[in-house]
């Protein structure tokens, strides 16, 4: 039975564009996945391309035509089918993109240690910051689900990401010139961790300075239904009433609105306010409530009397 996200988790996703489930997938399934792809001792891997080709030819990861329903995508009892059947994973997917979601694409990313670059006399560089696919001005959003079958240490250069960037409309590598962004994070996690990104979140792969291969399986999922209150099937969500602004009590209780209105260190002083406005518009979309507001940001500018 899928375990749907809580309203707090949805608010966290709406604000930051990402959610993580640390060490969610158990050791047996992680091992099964690694065995299935032919994971081996690093000393036995001579050639990057050959290793990758072996995985593609022998693993149970199927070739999935774009647009295939997720429920039909993976062979029964395969490690990936078990992962997508996990109640937390399926609940998060259903909450964000619905149960009729389809697969856009999938990929198993491998990041190799320095010795392979040294041997090939290649410069080992991190991946530049980018937003996946192409410029995407839709209101609808896709999600990208990441699965880490092994632990990812700091040395391994786990995926770099920038919380709160998901609603900024940019064109793929048009953000590549931002080498470093204040508040940037890297995914350092236990084996079996699942991460979910809004398809607009800025990110890039780090450099692997460890001695081991870093694996990350990714699948992009597209909704086929309106993304309104999918996590709240009883439709119980009600917006909070207005609260006092600026001249406030310091000890007032934190609410969902505080999660939604959280600022990020990279936001400009001026555009930060637009980021908040866009988060409120996103929350209107997710809740299906076209009139809700938080901290008067939209009410103020919608009060047009002429």
């Amino acid at each position: 039975m899928p375990k749907l996200l809580s309203t707090e988790q949805m608010a966290e996703f709406a604000n930051s564009g990402c959610l993580f489930f640390e060490g969610l997938i158990d050791e047996d399934i992680n091992r099964e996945f690694l065995n299935d792809i032919g994971h081996t001792n690093i000393d036995e891997v001579d050639n990057i391309q050959q290793y990758f080709q072996n995985i593609k030819s022998s693993s149970s990861i199927p070739r999935i035509p774009a647009g295939t329903p997720l429920k039909d995508a993976y062979p029964l009892n395969s490690p990936l089918e078990k992962i997508f059947k996990n109640e937390i994973v399926s609940g998060a997917i259903n909450s964000l993109v619905g149960s009729k979601t389809v697969v856009d694409h999938q990929f198993l990313h491998l990041t190799f240690p320095s010795k392979y670059y040294d041997r090939a006399n290649q410069r080992q560089m991190s991946q530049v910051n980018h937003q996946d696919s192409t410029i995407d001005p839709r209101t609808t959003f896709d999600i990208q689900l990441f699965y880490f079958p092994t632990a990812v240490t700091k040395d391994m250069g786990g995926t770099r990401y920038h919380p709160g960037t998901h609603l900024r409309i940019v064109n793929e590598m048009g953000i590549a010139k931002y080498q470093n962004i204040k508040g940037q994070k890297n995914i350092i996690c236990k084996a079996g961790t699942i991460g979910i990104f809004h398809s607009g979140l800025w990110h890039g792969a780090g450099v692997n300075f460890s001695d081991d291969i870093r694996y990350m399986f990714k699948v992009r999922l597209q909704p086929k239904e309106k993304q309104e209150l999918l996590w709240d099937i009883d439709k119980k969500y009600r917006p909070l009433p207005n609260r006092a602004l600026y001249w406030t009590d310091e000890n007032q209780e934190k609410t969902i609105n505080d999660i939604l209105m959280q600022s990020h260190p990279w936001q400009e002083a001026d555009t930060n306010r637009l980021d908040k406005i866009n988060t409120i518009k996103f929350w209107r979309q997710l809740t299906g409530n076209k009139n809700l507001d938080i901290d008067y940001w939209l009410t103020r500018i919608e009060n047009e009397l002429y």
Partner: protein, 92 residues
Amino acid sequence: MTKRQKVLVLYLKFPSLEAEVISWATFDGTGKKLHMTGDSDEPPYPTGLDALLDGWRLFQASQAIPEYPGQEFRTSYLKHEFFFEKIEEGDF
């Protein structure tokens, strides 16, 4: 002796050099250091002004472009971009 250019790009919190650095990139034409994406979590200077005080010369700053009518709430790239350079002499 030859000359090489080092470029520092700072993105600031608001369009004044006294503003806090929120994003940064360095490209070293001397070849002494290879900078790359994600290589530092702390900015090289707290503000744009601090870069000037350390000898970086400003050579380009982003213009203020009015928001396009109907697109006032659309957010996109970082706005307040400042390019600095240092010229180094040496045997490269």
